[in-house]
Symmetry: none
Subunit: 246 residues, 2 copies
């Protein structure tokens, strides 16, 4: 099995029906993916999940159940949310086909994650905030209600198709999810300190910053630079603590 | 709905489980297909089919049930069989992606059909004889057991992708070159002021910032935000001069 597919996590958040978890496991395995993460599934483990997995119990058995999305995303360098509709002030959105080569390229060297929300309402805004990119599946505008496992199936299919024509791009090391979150915390504190961000009238400032830096897909070294700068903003005296660059 | 999609029949032969018929109807409808034909289904109509169709009952209600494959194929000008494996002395085989434009081109003027066999054993040799072309879905060679409705979903998705382009995203106003240059000047001054940038040892810092923000393709409004922040870094007292946001 390809290393790149092993690096791709399928994250299902707050899934209601265990049957969908089983069907998603089957969908993953048919395309060669194995890493499933379940954020607070309503019912799991469950015999219905096993039945619907049609023998993909290895995927189910290895599935990590987590309390929150952040834990499921630890270590992931590119986090993509699957959404049926365009959101207000949203992240950059690409189609499933456009996403596949981007995700595969990154997965050659680092874990990446595809995040799916609940069957009824998809990803929450808080979950979307943790994504850097959104992906949508082209569908009938009058009836775009794809089954959860069907959405997983199509995206995994696109990823498999993308193996065939992988460009051999030099991989860059992207920033990790948890380091990005830490950066946003530091940035917020510094913006408050210099009077640019007023929590009583936040103007969606942090969302805008997240959107910008998500689109840029920050590299690890770039994040180090930004982090160094942001800390200095708050305390210009700490010159010696500026991020060291090689 | 596109005429071409209306001309595409999904033919399910001898399907064992009514749930799969319902799921296939849903898969079809999400991609804008409406013409389902059922050759001797084991159990249909059936409440499980209705439940799994998730509201795609119009597809189920209109589904034509026939005694044999030939009847289901009447009038079709291109008949394609879906198969997981290469057959001995078989027809020409194409991938799902290769098939889509071929089928769509033909469907502009004439009915065409995609034929799926039973869940357990696929199409019989007698059924294959009635096909002109075979299509396969790329899959994990060690576990290629796609659910019937998943196979329908992927093929219908490929057909839909063959007709549509990406939805036109609302154009955003990007930052102008001269404003970007001004920003980099301000940023440099501020970084010097807080001691993050030392011109005697600049560490290619400004080049790195340029690279990062170039990749992000800054929007006009985002540049305004960054500019406001950067000016405040140098002079935290100037709170009233912060960039105004709408």
């Amino acid at each position: 099995m390809s290393v790149s597919l092993n690096n791709i996590r399928i994250v299902l958040s707050h899934t209601s029906h265990p049957g969908n978890i089983g069907s998603a496991a089957r969908a993953m395995k048919t395309m060669g993916l194995i890493d499933m993460r379940l954020v607070q599934p309503k019912q799991f483990p469950d015999p219905v999940a096993v039945a619907m997995s049609a023998g993909s119990t290895d995927v189910l058995d290895a599935a990590q159940v987590t309390e929150d999305l952040a834990t499921a995303l630890q270590g992931a360098t590119l986090v993509v949310g699957c959404t049926a509709r365009r959101r207000d002030l949203s992240h950059k959105m690409v189609s499933a086909r456009e996403l596949a080569p981007l995700l595969m390229a990154q997965a050659q060297t680092n874990p990446v994650a595809l995040v799916f929300g609940t069957e009824m309402s998809g990803l929450t805004n808080a979950e979307l905030e943790q994504c850097q990119l959104l992906v949508h599946i082209p569908a009938n505008p009058e009836y775009s209600s794809l089954n959860l496992a069907s959405a997983v199936q199509i995206l995994c299919y696109e990823l498999r198709c993308a193996i065939i024509d992988m460009p051999a791009a030099a991989p860059v090391e992207l920033a990790r999810h948890e380091d990005l979150e830490l950066f946003y915390q530091e940035l917020e504190q510094s913006l408050i300190a210099i009077g640019f961000l007023n929590l009583a009238a936040p103007r969606r400032l942090m969302t805008r910053f997240r959107r910008l830096y998500s689109r840029a897909q920050l590299e690890k070294e770039e994040l180090n630079i930004l982090m160094g700068m942001v800390k200095l903003i708050r305390n210009p005296a700490q010159i010696n603590q500026a991020a060291k660059l090689d």
